[in-house]
């Protein structure tokens, strides 16, 4: 495997103190990330899916350096040893400064670094605008004068400005309409090809992940429960949670075949972590032989080490789904 890794995370934990007593002593802790091992390589898109509260956005903040990990390490393998990473947020309405004209919004990251004249910055902004499909003439307008899709283009242009190695895309199309989503996804793919960019794409939309990324990670309660090539993970989920997640994604058959249990237990809180497998309460395959133990991430393919799962049984290989499909309402 060619080692063109840009960043790797080693056993990253993030804990927040959430409650303090009157002496200022911490009473309870939110365990947001609980041992993340992950790497991103040059030119690839790494998809990350998971439900709200699973730590996706905290992971993005750790990557951005906005949040130091409580435990574990984030190492950069880039030439300058100084991470060059940018982010595009979900809601372009709130992530663009409403009081700056667009050319200033786009060039803010390099303006902060200093060393560019006003004319240079304007020129850079104009070039980037054209690359993301905005007209150069619009550079003196303000963010509110643009539509949602155009604003997301501005956010992408801003992320491109310092010529980053990695862009974290935190739900980049969730706030957009389908037809605009298609435009933005196309733009992101084109930019990646043209600039050999790496993306870390955080989304709850499995079809977006499937379309954009070759490799994906599934997160649950601050852990990666499954990691591997997107096609493999989606077709043959090896973790019961991945399976549950994929079953819940409505398909486009128009067949109203949606069924399953209505009374699924909720996502457990992250104040007190479960002792054994984090997914125990919601797992349909749970048993008493191994599930009460903490589950390490184990490799499913001995030699290549690209497919990982945090479950001691491989539900796909053992094909035990048939016998435990329960009939419910």
């Amino acid at each position: 495997m060619p080692d063109n890794r840009l960043v790797s995370l080693n056993d990253v934990h993030v804990h927040f103190p959430v409650q303090k007593n009157w002496l200022g002593q911490v009473k309870s802790i939110a365990h947001v990330l609980n041992g993340i091992d992950l790497h991103a390589s040059a030119g690839e898109t790494l998809g990350i899916v998971g439900e709200s509260g699973c730590g996706k956005s905290t992971l993005a903040q750790v990557l951005m350096g906005l949040l130091p990990p409580t435990r574990g390490k984030v190492s950069w393998h880039t030439a300058s040893a100084k991470p060059n990473i940018q982010i595009v947020f979900q809601d372009p309405q709130s992530s663009l400064d409403p009081r700056l004209p667009v050319w200033k919004v786009i060039t803010e990251p390099i303006h902060v670094q200093g060393g560019h004249s006003r004319a240079q910055l304007r020129k850079i902004a104009g070039d980037l605008a054209v690359q993301v499909g905005l007209r150069e003439e619009y550079m003196d307008r303000y963010p509110h004068e643009f539509s949602g899709g155009q604003r997301q283009r501005i956010a992408i242009a801003r992320a491109l400005a310092p010529n980053p190695d990695i862009i974290v895309l935190d739900e980049p199309t969730s706030a957009l309409d389908i037809s605009v989503q298609a435009q933005i996804l196309n733009l992101l793919n084109d930019l990646q090809k043209a600039r050999n960019l790496s993306y870390i794409l955080i989304s709850h939309n499995v079809s977006v992940i499937k379309h954009m990324s070759k490799r994906m990670a599934v997160m649950y309660l601050g852990q990666i429960v499954e990691l591997g090539p997107t096609a493999g993970v989606l077709q043959k989920p090896a973790h019961p949670y991945t399976e549950l997640l994929l079953e819940a994604v409505p398909d486009m058959t128009g067949s109203f075949t949606m069924n399953g249990p209505v009374d699924l237990p909720e996502l457990p809180g992250n104040r007190h972590l479960p002792r054994g497998c984090f997914f125990y309460d919601r797992c349909r395959y749970r048993d008493e032989t191994g599930c009460h133990l903490a589950q390490p991430l184990r490799s499913l393919d001995a030699e290549q080490k690209i497919r990982w799962v945090r479950c001691y049984k491989n539900i796909y290989e053992n094909s035990i789904r048939a016998e435990s499909t329960e009939t419910s309402v």
């Binding site: 389908i178 037809s179 989503q181 298609a182 196309n186 709850h204 977006v208 994604v249 109203f256 949606m258």
Partner: protein
Amino acid sequence: MQGNQAGQTDELVLSVENLHIEFPIYKGAVKALNGVTLQVAAGEIVGLVGESGSGKSVCAMMGMRLIPSDSYRVTRGTIRQSGKDILALSEKEMRAIRGSEVSMIFQEPMTALNPVMKVGKQIINVILQHQSISRAKAREKTLGLLREMYIADPERVFDSYPFELSGGMRQRIMIALAFSCEPKLLIADEPTTALDVTVQKQVLLLLRERARKTGTAILLITHDMAVVSQFCERVYVMYAGAVVEDGLTRDVIKQPRHPYTQGLLAGLPENVKPGTPLKTIGGQVPDLAQLPACCSFMNRCGRKEYICRNVPDLLPLTSDPSHKVACWIVQEEDERNAR
């Protein structure tokens, strides 16, 4: 009733006929709805899809007349609920209908629920508003409703404030509220957009189960074609304030006829090979304040011809009368092929 192609000749719980609504603004008006015709029969689950600004939420709000009456003008058309013309009702009469005959679920349950009132009390209040039963009975009924929502410990939830509950749990409370008086029609405006997929699935299943049990019809407003595909029997597709296509969900999703619906479905990542460019619809949605007097999709349409300078009507196709399309070209083509 002709055109009600679900085959149900029984009661139409909601019937909107050629509705035109505009919001007056400085020097002009935003024409939010431009001829919406839709019907929901008793017990039916119908989808209404469209992108932002297509008028689907205005439709939903008008279904309960929730928009302040001095802010809009109905220029043409009617809205009937079980035969009653609700545009002619007084505010007092409308209040009696809301909650008991029609109820609504919104996208964000946190903003729809009262944050400083325990959820149990909120449900009790709705029940007491519409039914003459004692407070103790209403409490009993509320706990029963919560239990029917598969809430494991209804007593605890009853005494909780909305902020103490998760998003999925809050939406269940909204559903319990909406079904508390067994309405004939439930308008669900993006009920699962703020929820995770696993929770979305549970909420949709729950909605469907309750609706079947109480015989309530559901008008589901969403932008998610996949949800419609799994949940609705029929679907209306809206564009620029008008219905452009209407038919059985299966037909509309598998064989969309209107160029807009075709473009919309082609833009979904589900429908192409991963990594390949997605098809996009060029151009932009027309400004509703300056709507041209032609087919509203004309400026973005790849098939436009001279005839598109006239506004098309939503008409059944000759080949399949249950499938209606508002497009001159498609109608003509279909007629030619059917002959």
